[in-house]
């Protein structure tokens, strides 16, 4: 099937070339970081994780969100998702690859990364994260590829793939729960040490993932002959709407706990993010934009006419995605480190090299995504009708 990726329009090649340029810039900047050390980033002894680990955390959610399509389709036989199941599975693959790359670029001694395997340490959550992430990558590659292959041949998917599909469905939440455990099990980091963390991770993932899928489906429809289907997009929008509301609620639960209990150490990070602490307020604009985007997202996704009209839906989905990205990809990680163990505020802001490396990793993800979607849409275009007899290509 890979040969399909080698035939494409000039626009396809142009896009890949553009991404390759960004990847190249990322690689060169990474070599600089490799040479000098992580001192070229905005991280410090007080805020010792930053943009990289934030992206990792966010993207684990994006990967896990494939389950919002796969579960209704395979467990509840929700036929509208028949066409886009592959879109979800193929989103998970680059998302996991990006997660792994973000961990890699964050390591101080990347050449020693295999120490995690050479000295397996079951008391570290990182150990389980490694297992669940690589397992999820393999499951999605296997399921996505096998099913698409059989679709290409015009045959039903082989029976032996079924157990793997069910395992993948159960596996998806585990990757994000384990990632939340990286944070919520640490003493002395009050912003993270809350049982709602894992639940909030899942809900925000199931809001941001479907939002991204809505946009990707619209792009696929625009640039290929394959039509993911209006109903499928609408269903994704409903999923995103519910989980966006749940995520906001979970955040407010946290705010209630911190402020009604009156325990000041639980309040500091929240105060820092929303209004600044001791005159330090670098992340206040980020958090304000986040709140604004959440409001736009809720307004559009919850109001039926706005959700149904695809122009506003695209705006609502983009707002939700960006909102969750700002919350999980930046403020969650940095906010947890402020104030530091000595009740002092040291702020963080990513540097230019750090940003270029981050863009490089994202570009790599989109590069892989483009190739996978190119393959999927080409196969789907040829199939014309899906197995339920519904037309797959645009009229």
């Amino acid at each position: 099937m890979l040969e399909i990726a080698l035939k494409g329009s000039p626009r396809y090649w142009g896009w890949l070339f553009f991404l390759a340029t960004l990847i190249g810039a990322g690689v060169i900047t990474y070599l600089y970081q490799f040479q000098i050390g992580l001192g070229i980033t905005g991280m410090s002894r007080d805020v010792s994780w930053g943009l990289y680990i934030g992206q990792f955390t966010f993207l684990v959610g994006v990967a896990a969100s494939a389950v919002t399509i796969v579960l209704p389709y395979y467990l509840h036989n929700y036929k509208k998702y028949g066409r886009i199941a592959i879109i979800g599975e193929f989103l998970a693959i680059p998302a996991i690859l990006m997660c792994m790359l973000f961990i890699f670029v964050d390591l101080g001694q990347p050449m020693r990364v295999l120490n995690v395997l050479l000295h397996p340490t079951p008391n570290s959550v990182m150990f389980y994260d490694m297992i669940v992430l690589s397992g999820y990558l393999i499951l999605n590659l296997l399921c996505g590829w096998v099913i698409l292959m059989s679709e290409k041949k015009g045959a039903p998917p082989p029976k032996w793939i079924k157990p793997f599909l069910y395992i993948a469905i159960c596996w998806a939440p585990s990757i994000h729960i384990v990632t939340a455990f990286l944070y919520q099990g640490l003493p002395g980091r009050d912003y993270w040490m809350t049982a709602i963390m894992a639940a909030k991770f899942l809900s925000s993932a199931f809001a941001s993932g479907p939002s991204l899928l809505i946009i990707l489906c619209m792009l696929i429809r625009k640039f290929t002959n394959f039509d993911p289907g209006k109903e499928a997009i609408q269903s994704l929008a409903k999923t995103a709407a519910y989980f966006l509301l749940v995520t906001i609620a979970f955040y407010l639960f946290e705010v209630f706990t911190a402020f009604y209990s009156g325990i000041t150490s639980h309040q500091y990070s929240i105060i820092y993010l929303f209004s600044g602490l001791e005159g330090y307020s670098k992340l206040v604009p980020v958090m304000s934009i986040c709140v604004l985007l959440a409001a736009i997202g809720v307004l559009i996704l919850v109001t039926p006419p706005l959700r149904k009209w695809e122009v506003t839906l695209a705006i609502g989905a983009a707002s939700t995605f960006l909102c969750m990205w700002l919350e999980k990809g930046i403020t969650l990680v940095v906010g947890g480190f402020i104030p530091n163990a000595f009740d002092r505020v040291f702020e963080y802001w990513p540097t230019l090299p750090e940003t270029i490396i981050t863009i490089g990793v994202w570009s790599f993800g989109f590069f892989v995504l483009t190739i996978l979607y190119k393959i999927a849409s080409s196969v789907k275009e040829k199939a014309i009708f899906d197995k339920y007899g519904e037309k797959q290509i645009k009229a």
Partner: protein, 261 residues
């Protein structure tokens, strides 16, 4: 382990070779338990100071600027700790904090400014229940049998999970090559490279030579150390007759560094 002399080493080597030639691996002839017992025998360095659990008591009343400077200076000098002035990239094993920062949970509006700004020497607490050890994915940081929380800087992958896990800010990361920031290198202590985490190691290398931790020696009696499991040790006597506090004790980490007010 380091005190196997040449004669003994050759003897072991000889036996090993003989076994090898005979087509037997050493493990088949000698039981695993015997090897461990053998190794255990050589683990004990003659003259080394030993304890079931090392601990420290720091008397804040006896600390002054001079003692604090001496303690930090000697520690950082003998352990090749780079002197980086940029607070973002600073590397510290033991350092001076104000009381209100070392014990933020005890801060009080009506506390005298004298106490608020009292000098406190802070360092790794060598917790009995160390979160850094729990989270490390490679066992690069681990707890020794004598309670010292150790660092293997050659195994550390630099993921900094331990820094997120430590509630005491006791861990430093080499954001760039530390060699450029070390003036007089101590050849007896290993240098670190960029990209690894480091911290106080309770002067394990001095204990092995029968010497107290360098900060204890430089503190003119302000810092005491000993085996906290031994009811007759100096520190146990101090703790039984004085009120001592530990940093963030409610977190359940069980720090081994006590402070007298």
């Amino acid at each position: 382990m380091s005190n196997i002399n040449r004669r003994e080493f050759l003897k072991i080597l000889g036996i090993g070779t003989f076994m090898g030639i005979g087509g037997w691996s050493m493990f088949e002839v000698v039981g695993k338990g015997e090897i461990e017992a053998f190794a255990e025998k050589y683990k004990k360095v003659p003259g080394a100071l030993q304890a079931k659990r090392w601990a420290m008591v720091i008397d804040l009343k006896k600390l002054d600027q001079q003692i604090i400077n001496d303690c930090t200076e000697v520690c950082h000098r003998i352990h090749n700790v780079p002197k980086i002035l940029n607070p973002k990239e600073e590397i510290k094993w033991i350092w001076d904090e104000k009381f209100k920062n070392a014990f933020p949970e005890l801060k009080d509006d009506y506390m005298s400014s004298e106490i608020k700004n009292m000098h406190v020497l802070v360092l790794c607490n060598h917790c009995e229940n160390p979160p850094c050890v729990r989270v490390c994915p490679t066992k690069a940081t681990f707890k020794r049998k004598d309670g010292i929380v150790m660092m293997d800087m050659h195994r550390c992958i630099g993921c900094r999970f331990c820094m997120a896990g430590c509630p005491y800010g006791a861990r430093s990361f080499n954001w760039r090559d530390p060699k450029d920031y070390i003036k007089n290198e101590n050849p007896e202590f290993p240098l670190r490279m960029r990209g690894v985490v480091e911290k106080c190691t309770f002067c394990y290398e001095r204990l092995d030579r029968g010497l107290p931790p360098a900060c204890v020696e430089a503190s003119k009696g302000a810092i005491m150390y000993g085996d906290i499991t031994d009811p007759n040790s100096e520190i146990r006597k101090i703790l039984s007759s004085n009120f001592a506090i530990r940093r963030k004790a409610k977190l359940g980490t069980k720090p081994s560094v006590y402070y007298l007010l």
